[in-house]
Symmetry: C2
Amino acid sequence: MEGYQEHSLGGRVFQKIREDILSGKYKENDELRENTIGNELGVSRTPVREALRQLELEGLVTIIPNRGAYVTGISRRDIWDIYMIRSLLEGLCARWAAEHIEEKQLYELEETILLSEFQMKKESGFSAEQIAMLDGRFHAILYEASGSRILSHLLKDFHNYVQAVRKDSVASEDRARKSIREHRQILRAIRDRDEELAEQLANEHIMHVIQNLKKQGYEKENCK
Amino acid sequence: MEGYQEHSLGGRVFQKIREDILSGKYKENDELRENTIGNELGVSRTPVREALRQLELEGLVTIIPNRGAYVTGISRRDIWDIYMIRSLLEGLCARWAAEHIEEKQLYELEETILLSEFQMKKESGFSAEQIAMLDGRFHAILYEASGSRILSHLLKDFHNYVQAVRKDSVASEDRARKSIREHRQILRAIRDRDEELAEQLANEHIMHVIQNLKKQGYEKENCK
DNA sequence: TCTCGTATAATTGTATACAATTAGATTCGG
DNA sequence: CCGAATCTAATTGTATACAATTATACGAGA
């Protein structure tokens, strides 16, 4: 958006630590020492501190005054919750997109779906990375199209949060195909300006992901 | 939760600036200079920087690298969006609370309602401050009762965001009375473990607030 | 051997110093 | 008088220094 996160040291450190938490390099309750991380990344404590404070706000890190910063981590229960919440919000997003979307964005959505379909047709097998990326792009366009700064911001955050899980989700070829078909249906509803249908389809789209998650052991009960 | 926000300088500066933005002391596009704010609060730039970085993450401040921090502000459209989102999420929250709530929390909810009713009966007229506070408490208990760290965190954030507006909302005696009646209905549904009804009532509860907002000029169209 | 207390080391909290970048003023040329 | 280049001041970005707090290790006494 404004380039800060890529430009400044603090921003890069923030992204790096977040990635390391979400990817599992730092595990739950790990202590994050400012000096240690600073040395690893070749920067001073200052940008690291800024990053840790931001991560606390995101809920990935817990700071105890005069003690240190500890990884909060995200449990399977958290993942489950996020998807339940996302289901509602993606529905609302699709509804608003049906109201506000512009021709250019409709075209971009179409393009993303075509690229996804192309990826699935490759003889050499599809790349889960690519599919995850395109899935991300599809939803990102939708977020913009909603015309709501707040909703867009929120859904982007969640998107980052479950980054690691999303890749697992589309790793199954069956799920990937269905997902793309659902994207197409959602696009059609939005193009037809059918708010009701768009909301319902987007809703179900995420619910399907949840059902898929279930198969992979992310059950609701599986929380600690 | 962890005491950092109250304890450390950075945390207090963060809260102070946020308050000043939400209360309107700092207006949209105002430049927030680190030194200026630091001098005003009698602290150095370091905690101010931390606070500004956090506020950027919350969407209240926009940072342009090597240029400065500017107030993003929240438009009426933003407020509207937040309440629309809250409507869905409070519904989900009530549903989950109906599943997980404990006796102690049921009692706390009851107590909060009783205090609200008492406040409305005062001959000297009710205090909007107090009613807003009790309204906040009621919802806060519900957030905890949902048993979802994620959802709770999210709704608390929104709650802070619209702090200023909430007071306006219950300033009308008519709305305040209806609001408390709705709280009572929600509590009953949760106590009966009627998830469906609880969700629906909580949903409508926030929608009623939106309708009330409308009367006060927070129309959806009123966005810039 | 266990416990309590003290001393020392390590870590965070805050302030300051220096570097880098940007905005604004001033001057010079046209 | 206007515009461009350059210099200066102001502001941010980062690193370091110092203060305060906390954790750890060690030793004395029961």
